[in-house]
């Protein structure tokens, strides 16, 4: 390995294996598993259950199956997954609840993906759960219903709580980077400079029950469509810089969330799981809780508690 590559690898390791507050990891656990419980409840897997065998187009481990799972299996797994996700969020029986919730979620998503099209709506949430699967003990060290509360002991800080969070941050950043780079790889700058986004929005509006007023407003104005296309590439490819520069999440996190809100409004595509995953992983909720708690204390005590 060259020196440059070695230095880059060492910097990446230093980022990924840095200490973090155990409360921040707990917040990520609570947020991601709560989000998973919601998605298990609302994502419509029923529409593919019982699909005729001739249309079954399996992906990943579903190649082991000969046909789409039945509605009966969905009806059995869904409540199990939701309960497991809620238990995981609460920090209960993590060695059981974490993998069970994850497994049910992946099973349902593989059903949706086995109809001829790869679905990306829940991918980022599922990927960011993987580091939590590997750290059930650390992820439930604090803010867990299953543990005895010891408020007088400060929440531990260490690499054991840092690497799952930072791995999730790398996953999020790389996901956006790859989405942006694949656009440039397969389309080049034409993705921005051509009428591409106008046609995307026109086609999307035509598939919706009613014409999409906002999407058509953008599509009818070439300059606006080009601007939004350029902004999309900037946010996707640029997001990875958040791993290097600590202040950039203040720009890119609201930026990508706005992107997903815009996609939802103009194209009726549900990427809420992705947007909320970014928020859960990149916001330091533990620091926010500390800040809010300090502001509620009388002024003299704030100085003492700081």
């Amino acid at each position: 390995m060259t020196d440059r590559a070695r230095n880059a690898f060492d910097r990446a390791q230093a980022f990924a294996f840095a200490p973090e507050d155990s409360r921040r990891l707990a917040a990520m656990r609570i947020g991601l598993f709560s989000l998973l419980a919601w998605r298990l409840a609302v994502v419509d897997v029923d529409r593919v259950a019982g699909q005729p065998a001739a249309l079954f187009d399996p992906v990943s481990v579903f190649h082991l199956l000969s046909e789409m799972p039945s509605q009966g299996i969905v009806d059995a797994l869904r409540p199990l997954g939701i309960i497991a996700a809620l238990a995981a969020a609460a920090g209960l029986w993590p060695r059981l609840s974490f993998p069970l919730a994850f497994g049910v979620a992946v099973f349902g998503e593989l059903m949706l993906n086995s109809t001829g099209k790869i679905i990306h709506n829940e991918v980022l949430l599922v990927l960011c759960l993987i580091p939590l699967l590997a750290t059930p003990t650390a992820a439930t060290r604090v803010w867990s219903m299953g543990r005895r509360r010891t408020p007088e002991v400060a929440a531990p800080v260490g690499v054991a709580y840092g690497w799952p969070i930072r791995t999730a941050m790398v996953i999020v950043a790389f996901a956006y980077l790859f989405v942006g780079l694949q656009k440039l790889r397969y389309s080049g700058v034409e993705w921005v400079t051509s009428e591409n986004l106008r046609w995307v929005l026109y086609a999307s509006s035509d598939t919706q029950a009613e014409p999409n007023t906002l999407g058509l407003f953008v599509a009818d104005r070439a300059w606006l469509a080009h601007l939004m296309a350029a902004g999309t590439i900037f946010l996707e490819v640029g997001f990875v810089a958040c791993l290097r520069f600590a202040r950039l999440p203040w720009l890119f996190v609201p930026g990508v969330i706005s992107l997903h809100i815009g996609i939802w409004l103009m194209m009726d595509l549900d990427y809420w799981a992705q947007a909320l995953t970014v928020l859960i992983v990149f916001v330091n909720w533990a620091a926010l809780v500390t800040l809010l708690a300090a502001r509620r204390l009388p002024r003299p005590l704030r100085r003492v508690g700081a």
């Binding site: 390791q13 990924a16 294996f17 029923d46 529409r47 593919v48 259950a49 019982g50 699909q51 005729p52 001739a54 249309l55 079954f56 187009d57 992906v59 990943s60 789409m68 992946v106 998503e109 993906n113 109809t115 001829g116 099209k117 790869i118 990306h120 991918v123 599922v126 990927l127 993987i130 580091p131 590997a134 750290t135 260490g158 690499v159 054991a160 690497w163 791995t167 790398v170 996953i171 790389f174 996901a175 790859f178 989405v179 780079l181 694949q182 656009k183 397969y186 389309s187 993705w191 051509s194 009428e195 591409n196 046609w199 995307v200 026109y202 086609a203 509006s205 035509d206 014409p211 058509l216």
Partner: protein, 146 residues
Amino acid sequence: MPRFARPFVTLLIAAMIATAVFAWEPWPLTSFRLFSHVRTDEQTGWVARTVEGDGFEGAYPIGAQELGFRGFGFVMAEFVDASDERQDELCRTWVRAAPELIGVEATQVRLYQRHWELSEREDDRALPGDEDLVYVCDGEGLVSGD
């Protein structure tokens, strides 16, 4: 920190990179190809219609149905290059599903290729364009088509 953490993270991130570079789709790992190809004004799609016993031809919006039929566009992309056996299998599936999906006893399903332009619009909708009958299916399989 567990000893497996470093190799675990390295492997996970390497797998993400590999699936993106080589365009693999071992879900949840994916190549992240979302809207990665340039869209053009000219559009091509497939439209299905049922034919009942009395010859009446009606709409058969396969792609809007439940029971896993929504991937109709992608299945048609496979259909055009599929083997005779595979085309027969898909034809039988679509014909036999019509009663359950749309309440129609179909004797045939006709597959039209539609061509239209997104820029040709009226009342905030693209004009329907042209349709060419390409395939005809019945309960036994493909009846006619290339």
